[in-house]
Amino acid sequence: MKIFLKYLFLIALVIVFVGPFYWLVSIALRASGDIYSLRIIPENPTLMNFAETWQKFELWRPFVNSVMVAAAVLFLNILLSSLAAYPLARLKFPGRDLIFFLLLSTMMIPFQLYMIPLFLTCLKLGLMNSLAGIVLPTSVGVFGIYLIKQYYLTIPMDLEEAARIDGAGEFSIWWRIMFPLTKPAIATLSIFTFVGNWSNFLWPLIIIDREDKYTLPIAIAKLSGAFIDKTQYLAAGSVIAIAPVIIIYLFMQRYFISGISAGAVKG
């Protein structure tokens, strides 16, 4: 009986956390005129709203932009964090501790403090209204460098030492030995970078004001400001916007959850 009640409660909580998603999808499937009914399953569900949002409201454009930005950010983050973390974890050189300390201390500074000077810098570099303007400032992060560095530290030295004796250079040690061994850390970094970047809102909102360069969050936000009485389109657009992340989440769920525990260092 106690177990039965517990499961009943757990299921009620599922409705609290997943219910709004269901509601969103059900609105997106409704034919016009049927928006405000409380029906849980829409009458005559239609996929028209998705097609209309995709083509007539050109949601494909921000979708393509978001995909391109995400791919570039992912690639650069993996490459640059793995490169930068290697000497910080393995090589001895003057300035190492200073650089690491400097990197970590910037984590304390909120983005909102420096977003305006960053905007001025990007303006000067001609990055306004370009996808590169979204990508470059997020192309490497201190969190990523830290994550990979911690992972390098868990790899035993013997492998490198053997390679060094065989005459391998630092670069080939990194590329042939260290980089392939950090796959789990890179998986975690990729997921966090992708999800964070896919949802990133404030920075693209500042650096982009041309419609053809919108990313999905910006496009959805602007749509929601633009028309009020076509809720189904807005809902369909929202479903399209979150679908990629939700699908990846459903397949790689355990990486998401173990990743946080890895990132949230205790104490």
Binding site: K6, L83, P110, G169, L202, S238, I257
Partner: protein
């Protein structure tokens, strides 16, 4: 200091590995950070022809700016979410930490809002909270719990609190996972000893689990209060800062980016935000550390 040839080579290589990252971070992180502090001492707007150094004038203006104080007050008010988040996410973690059938499914369901973009989350809840057509008011009135529609997002008294529930709803799964990791790290012997000594589950919770979870509680308090002080997207999407719901970050955006582009003044506000977060985190760590010792 003298370096041998191979040593020099190693130093050179180390910096070569770091070079791309250092260049990018210098241009897009270090320099803007420094410049934010400098700009806060300037009357600076890209729209204005004469930008000049004004010393601490921006900060004096801040102290007299009623909108700033209202936004700051709202940002502090927003910190109410912190204790609520700690209690609810800990409760969730206690529910789904034990290995019971289907537990992974429940965890995954509660975590789903975390991976969803805030823009969409805010939009869904805006539909749900809609005064005239929202499903929440329809359900409540059908159950005869309310006699007239509640203006969730259209009344100055309620709007900010309604937005807070969305922040809480989206974040709980994340903090739940931190607590699950914390619960996992409690040594088994300790829990077994408590059981042998005849502790009821409530006693175990209060006297064993919660004290052992203190590092996780501190971590959740720090992360959730930093993000509460930085709240922006929910406000942007759900109220546009109207009805007295502007927060500090929304005000910075509104003044520095959108409207007048008073960037020097907005940077001064950014500096204020930074100081507040810094002081707050510092005291969070200190207070939590002390409470732990008692």
């Amino acid at each position: 200091m003298r370096f041998s040839g191979s040593r020099l080579r190693q130093i050179f290589l180390a910096y070569l590995f770091l070079l791309p990252t250092l260049i990018i971070l210098s241009v897009f992180l270090f320099y803007p950070m420094l410049r934010a502090f400098l700009l806060s001492l300037w009357d600076y707007s890209p729209l204005s022809p004469d930008n000049k150094f004004v010393g601490l004038d921006n900060f004096i203006r801040l102290s007299k700016d009623a909108d700033f104080w209202r936004s700051l007050g709202n940002s502090f008010l927003y910190l109410i979410v912190v204790p609520i988040i700690i209690i609810l996410s800990l409760a969730l973690a206690l529910l789904v930490e034990p290995k019971i059938p289907f537990v992974n499914f429940f965890r995954a369901a509660y975590y789903m809002p975390v991976v969803t973009m805030m823009v969409v989350v805010a939009l869904v809840w805006k539909m749900i909270f809609d005064t005239d057509h929202g499903i929440l008011n329809s359900l409540l009135s059908r159950m005869s719990l309310i006699s007239e529609n509640v203006p969730w997002l259209t009344s100055p008294k309620l709007a900010l609190f309604t937005v807070m529930t969305v922040t809480i709803w989206k974040g709980l799964g994340y903090y739940m996972v931190i607590f699950i990791a914390g619960l996992r790290s409690i040594p088994h012997e300790l829990l077994e000893a408590a059981m042998i000594d005849g502790c009821k589950s409530r006693q175990t919770l209060l006297h064993v689990k919660i004290p052992m979870l203190w590092p996780s509680i501190t971590l959740v308090a720090i992360i959730s209060s930093i993000s509460a002080l930085q709240v922006f997207e929910e406000i942007y999407m759900m109220t546009q800062g109207r009805l007295g719901t502007s927060t500090l970050v929304f005000y910075i955006y509104d003044l520095g980016v959108r409207g007048e582009q008073e960037m020097g003044y907005a940077c001064a506000m950014g500096v204020a935000l930074f100081c507040i977060i810094f002081i707050f985190t510092f005291f969070n760590v200190r207070l939590m550390g002390k409470a732990h010792k008692i």
